[in-house]
Symmetry: C2
């Protein structure tokens, strides 16, 4: 509770002048160590208006190497940001490994401004909109702070400061700012509104802090009526957290084990979901061409309507090699207006992507309102290829089921339609398609040595896929398993599914 805090704590000038130079040096040294250890850091400064957030940020930045930090002053969303899910613009600002991002106000201020119903009578953050936002914030920090476990970035070190001042002190400061010509423009209506309703804001801040305090992303309340006390407390807190972060990083992270080859008995135990799929479904040539035309026409119209209604759509394709993802996407995309969609092929992460959280490279591509993003392979790589090839340890890919569910839920809560396809084929079909690719000069480009390698792991991929389908089929983002031995059937069925789903959402 904020009011349990003793705001009048003080440090006198002499002591302060003795402490600060040393702390600056220490912080600078620790920051370079974090940089060397490739640990990404996020420091968030929140607090009452006129509590000195910007001053504090400036003080901390003085101690830092300007090449190792990124500073973000967060204000209203830009027009582009306003078209994206709530947390998108913060995902865009998560720093790469080794850098420190400092937020002069962050997602909390934005939550208060954009989502919280302060003016109303109930202020317990219980409306659906508020709860969704809080849970998205919670998930954002959790997923970053507990990430890692593969060749991708280390877990994020996250610290959140709330600068707390009394109503009396706030008034004094606002008046002082208004008194001076150089600072009068810093005070606006919103400041005085908050001051007037100080008592209403307090329980909101309290509850917000309570709901989002976590051991991996803790809140630090800073008594800030006395500037010197506040500064020293912030320094001490950061230095302590940086020290601990460095120690933890030294514990080596175990790499994953590749999935072992299976015994015959184990083979029988697999495939409880995928086994049930009837792969004999097919569609004759002439029916296919007719249906294709109708579907493409309908999709073109739906895209227009989705644009008008500002409905964002994510369409995700997974499936074994040669299961027909590319062909499916081609038929889908050629029906769409290219100004309104993007196809994102997902492969081995680039080194820039490796320096971010594993979900970052998907977040940055999520569509604006009214647009489509089509993923050719997806974030499910974490629980498929990374699991089978042992790129990620079990602890981390298991955790991914929930992380992914929460991410898709956040998309859905923000109005995005998420459509996921698993294209299922028989191993014999794959073999035939591989062979035909090798001999057909128009298709040869589609196959390389890796495809043959992965093929030997068919069963392991099947187990991984089966488990994935079980854990990540949710109400807001169900999987559609598509029998794809017959390409015609597969293409028309995915299109039908997309049409149905978008129609329902409109």
């Amino acid at each position: 509770m904020l009011r349990d805090v003793e705001l009048s704590k003080k440090i006198d000038k002499e002591e302060y002048d003795k402490l600060i130079p040393d702390m600056r040096l220490k912080l600078g040294a620790l920051q370079r160590d974090l940089n060397k250890s490739k640990i990404p850091v996020m420091l968030v400064f929140e607090g009452w208006h006129a509590s000195g957030k910007s001053l504090m940020v400036n003080e901390i930045l003085r101690a830092m190497d300007p090449r190792c930090f990124q500073m973000h002053a967060i204000d209203e969303p830009t027009p582009e940001e306003a078209q994206k899910p709530f947390m998108w613009r913060f995902w865009m600002k998560t720093p790469p490994s080794g850098l420190t991002a400092i937020f002069d106000q962050g997602w909390y201020s934005r939550f208060i401004e954009e989502k919280a119903d302060i003016d109303g009578k109930k202020m317990l953050l219980t409306s659906r909109k508020e709860q969704e936002a809080i849970s998205q914030i919670f998930e954002f920090e959790k997923v970053l702070a507990t990430g890692g476990g593969s060749e991708q970035s280390n877990p994020y070190l996250i610290l959140k400061f709330f600068l707390d001042i009394s109503k009396k002190e706030q008034k004094k400061r606002l008046e002082k700012l208004e008194d001076r010509k150089v600072s009068v423009f810093l005070v606006n209506k919103a400041d005085w509104k908050q001051h007037k309703h100080y008592g209403r804001y307090m329980p909101v801040f309290d509850r917000m802090i309570e709901l989002t305090d976590a051991i991996y992303a803790p809140w630090k309340i800073v008594e800030a009526d006395n500037w010197r006390f506040a500064t020293v407390k912030v320094y001490v807190t950061i230095i302590d957290a940086f020290n601990k972060g460095l120690q933890q990083a030294k514990k080596v992270q175990a790499k994953g084990k590749k999935m072992a080859t299976m015994t015959p008995v184990e083979k029988e135990m697999t495939g409880s979901i995928l086994d049930k799929i009837d792969l004999n479904k097919s569609m004759p040539e002439d029916e296919y061409h007719e249906r294709l035309k109708t579907c493409q026409k309908e999709l073109a119209e739906l895209q227009m309507r989705a644009f008008e209604k500002k409905l964002p759509v994510v369409i995700a394709y997974e499936g074994m090699d040669a299961s027909g993802k590319g062909g499916n996407i081609k038929r889908l995309s050629e029906s769409l207006d290219p100004r309104g969609y993007e196809v994102i092929p997902i492969g081995v992460p680039t080194d820039v992507e490796k320096n971010h959280h594993y979900l970052w490279r998907f977040w940055i591509h999520f569509p604006s309102k009214g647009y489509f993003t089509i993923f050719d392979r997806t974030w499910y790589g974490r629980v498929l290829v990374e699991r089978v090839e042992g790129l990620t340890s079990e602890k981390y890919w298991r955790k991914a089921y929930n992380e992914i569910n929460r991410m898709e839920e956040a998309l859905s809560d923000n109005g995005t339609v998420v459509i996921k396809f698993w294209l299922q084929i028989d191993p014999k079909t794959e073999l035939e398609r591989f062979k035909s690719r090798e001999t057909n000069p128009n298709k040869e480009w589609k196959i390389d040595i890796n495809d043959w390698k992965d093929r030997s792991k068919w069963n392991q991929y099947t187990i991984a896929a089966d488990e994935m389908l079980y854990h990540t089929s949710t109400t807001h983002a169900p999987w559609h398993i598509i029998p794809s031995d017959d390409k015609h059937y597969s293409r028309i069925t995915t299109m039908d599914t997309i049409i149905d789903t978008i129609k329902k959402a409109l």
Copy 2:
């Protein structure tokens, strides 16, 4: 001249239906080859309103692999883009190696909308604003199409189409669009305005095409009164250009040679600029501290004024290792409001950066109006480290002098102040600083084995720097050579220079 073109050329339906399927296949195959050869491609579609640009783009996209293209429909600049130099948003959209970017209208339409004085009486694109824009466009295409020569991306294959229709045909199409409920919203005032002044626009288009036609980025005029003829011509042109592009790519690019170690005579010939620098300049401790305070205060005020006046500022630091770039930047940045500046350290390019033109990673960081960008090492790496280490062949680093001059000129024409520092030290000073870094635990992080390696190339770097200073000191972006054996003197002098330059610009 557009009116030399016979617009009524036709192809009948039967022939068209025979030609197109084969052309689609060919184009798809070539695109995959380009992808494999890592050649980046830009196709730009311009033309009269209602000439069918979007339809043509859609047709071409049908033939392409949706994973290998990026489609950009260019409209008015976003609020963010409007804060940047004219070509910035197009630099942001240059595709990485192997991808094809298709522009449904590009920089030419934007030039016409934003820069050209169509309503006036003179329409020869002779105003200063128009000429600057044309020269920036010219330079943009040239630098991309003739790039390469290092480990970075291949030269860009650029094709520009102008879809030409007669005034009569334009009227027919606009009326037809307006007649139908589904398309009436596609027609607006600007369309009819262009139609009304068709005769005025023609010489502007003509002159624009004439001024920007180049062998490495040619204009293709497409007679588009007949849709089928236009489509076939576009296909034929692209297929031909892709074929030629692939053939050229096969000619292996020679790598650069490292600069050879010098004979004593050669050593005497070097340093005509840097030799003249008096390195004995210094500033006593107490004077330094006093001046530092005044300079920092003045810089803080100037930053505020630059923000108000929307003046963008680029500050670039180059110099040998241990010449004091970091310390200079620290003293500068701590005086600035962190919400208004960014420090960009330049090192070995990431693999994403390597897949773009070598200037791309600088362009994306150029400041918005009112902001500062501080570069710790710069685009001059092309003519310094890349030259000395033989990463780029002589042909390409020599070309870079002019490319860089033109880039800085574009910044300057768009109102950006460019301040460049070369921090000059004596080799003895470097040695002392390296030694002190090794023994001082607070500075140890600053030195590694590469620093010692580069040191042995002092003379080669000096020759490269000397030549660079000669070729790239321009009126719009002069070099400031700062004697930096004494850190105090160096820091105060750079700050003074920044203060003077910004004051003059305000």
